[in-house]
């Protein structure tokens, strides 16, 4: 009796999360997809390093940093662009996007240098 109650609770939780998420704006969902792509790439690289060993360690760090840095920058863009966020109410979203692009340029410059 208790077990079916907990499983039905989990199902209910899942459904409510999904429906709440469906209510978010489209552009935020695009950013979320981008973040998931970056994290998955990072996880794949870590799994490869665990199998093969860390021989060109600088290349490994550079690859992982590119993924993590991209994810971080995308998260900060999402925070600044989200209209429900009271802290960044006065910040124009174009300004946030311009900052995002500039930071990404610097990030990729660093990555290319460190990749070896």
């Amino acid at each position: 009796m208790g077990k079916s109650a907990t499983t039905s609770d989990v199902h209910a939780l899942f459904h409510s999360l999904r429906s709440a998420y469906a209510a978010t704006a489209n552009h935020l969902k695009i950013i979320d997809l981008y973040i998931v792509f970056a994290i998955v790439t990072a996880v794949i690289q870590v799994a490869y390093m665990a199998i093969v060993g860390s021989f060109p360690f600088n290349s490994f760090l550079s690859g992982v940093l590119s993924c993590v840095g991209t994810a971080v920058l995308a998260v900060s863009l999402r925070i600044q662009v989200n209209k429900d966020n009271k802290e960044f109410k006065d910040l124009p979203p174009e300004r946030a996007f311009a900052d995002f692009v500039l930071c990404n340029l610097v990030l990729h410059l660093v990555i290319m240098n460190f990749l070896g």
Binding site: H27, T41, V52, F55, S66, N104, L115
Partner: protein
């Protein structure tokens, strides 16, 4: 005045020629041999052996061992290239010779033939001990063998041994097999079995022992069986060769000419093996056989011809050396399949057997290991009967320069791919983000 000086000049020219024909690096066979005897009767009783030396071109100088005018060197130069010491009973040498000067003579690279006998003096025993050979301490002892003695009418004590326990070496004993056993009558000696410099050329059979033949055995003898050596050779580290024999009569004409029949066997040999055995052995001792020289050590990178002063790790290189053997009159190519070269730095990183082109050239090629430092090409060749070859050539090996590494590391391809996919993902994301409603 001019006539006298002209005469002096003409006389001295052949003198210089004689000096030039002496022992030298290019002709390692000895030339001038000093023969020290107890008395001159030995010169005639051992004439076959001495004549065999003279026909091979040696200049023999017979002297009594206690001759007061005996001298080995004059003004720092040795007068002789080798010594034959057939004086077993000598107590003190004459002139300026003594045990120390004899050993110095051997230490400077010259050869020695030493024969002891039943009445060997302490001086001879002392010289033998310094050469690495221990004669039996009992002065009355002889080698007795009740199963391997020679059949003889005169000898009742079984001290005349017929032995064919030779060392298995074609360099030392010649390529022709010695068919008949060797007759021996004298004292036995022992050598250090772990020494690589001393070899037993004629060892006693397992049934032999060393004891006084005329008295009863009171305690078990100390020297027994195959540990007894009858004739040994020593090749010193400076390639001086010493022959030590426990009997002088084995060299005599009487033994050279006599037939032999082993007790218990029916084959009677017309001539015993003494002459062939000792003549071949004297050829080896006087460097007519088994003397190697290594010349022309060369190394270079594969594809080049000149020797670089430094290699890089993971280079391919070639190494070659030429080895010749002195045949008594000329240098012949030495052919063997077991010469090895080491690429050595504290321990050999590469050890390769050199291939030979049958004309004395040994070569190989290998890849330098992934270690940098100062290496040596080492060839250590020590075989029974041959002079020791010890070659070593130093060469440094450097690591990669910074532009000699691989540009793209294949193991890092996923990381390259991830970085570029992030860049293109960023580009696609900006397009999608900007142009969707």
């Amino acid at each position: 005045m001019i006539k006298i000086s002209l005469c002096l000049f003409l006389v001295s020219v052949p003198f210089f020629a004689i000096i030039c024909s002496a022992f030298s690096e290019d002709r390692p066979t000895d030339r001038r041999v000093l023969v020290l005897l107890d008395d001159f009767a030995i010169k005639s009783s051992h004439s076959i052996f001495f004549k065999s030396l003279e026909t091979r071109g040696f200049d023999l100088d017979f002297k009594l061992a206690d001759d007061p005018k005996l001298a080995l060197q004059r003004y720092g130069q040795y007068l002789y290239d080798a010594i034959v010491l057939f004086a077993p009973t000598i107590d003190r040498f004459g002139g300026s010779v003594d045990a120390a000067s004899l050993l110095e003579f051997v230490d400077s690279g010259h050869d020695l033939i030493l024969a002891a006998d039943t009445s060997a003096s302490d001086l001879i025993r002392e010289i033998a001990v310094e050469c690495g050979v221990d004669f039996d301490e009992d002065p009355t002892a002889m080698v007795i063998d009740h199963t391997n003695h020679a059949v003889s009418e005169t000898e009742g004590h079984h001290t005349l041994i017929a032995n064919d326990d030779f060392v298995n070496s074609e360099v030392i004993l010649g390529s022709r097999k010695i068919e008949a056993p060797v007759l021996f009558k004298g004292i036995g000696h022992s050598i250090n079995p772990s020494s690589s410099l001393v070899t037993k050329v004629l060892s006693a059979s397992p049934a032999a022992y060393s004891a006084n033949p005329k008295s009863k055995l009171s305690s078990p003898p100390t020297l027994i069986g195959s540990a007894i050596s009858l004739v040994s050779v020593v090749q010193a580290r400076n390639n001086a060769r010493i022959l030590i024999s426990g009997s002088l009569t084995v060299f005599s004409d009487r033994f050279f000419r006599s037939g032999v029949q082993k007790a218990g066997s029916t084959t009677k040999h017309e001539k015993c093996g003494n002459e062939q055995f000792f003549v071949e052995l004297s050829k080896w001792v006087f460097h007519e056989r088994g003397h190697l020289k290594a010349v022309n050590v060369r190394h270079n990178k594969v594809g080049e011809t000149d020797e670089p002063s430094m290699y890089r790790i993971k280079d391919d290189l070639e190494y070659s050396v030429e080895v010749y053997e002195w045949s008594g009159s000329s240098w012949e190519p030495y052919v063997a399949g077991d010469m090895q070269v080491q690429f050595y730095m504290m321990s050999p990183y590469v050890l390769k057997t050199l291939s030979s082109n049958e004309k004395g050239l040994y070569y190989t090629s290998f890849k330098i290991p992934d270690v940098y430092g100062v290496f040596q090409f080492k060839v250590e060749y020590q075989r029974l009967g041959y002079t020791a070859l010890s070659l070593s050539k130093q060469i440094p090996v450097r690591p990669f320069r910074h532009n000699e590494y691989e540009r793209f590391i294949p193991a890092a391809l996923p990381y390259y791919g991830a970085s570029f996919s992030m860049m293109s993902g960023f580009f696609v994301f900006t397009l999608v983000y900007l142009y969707t409603k």
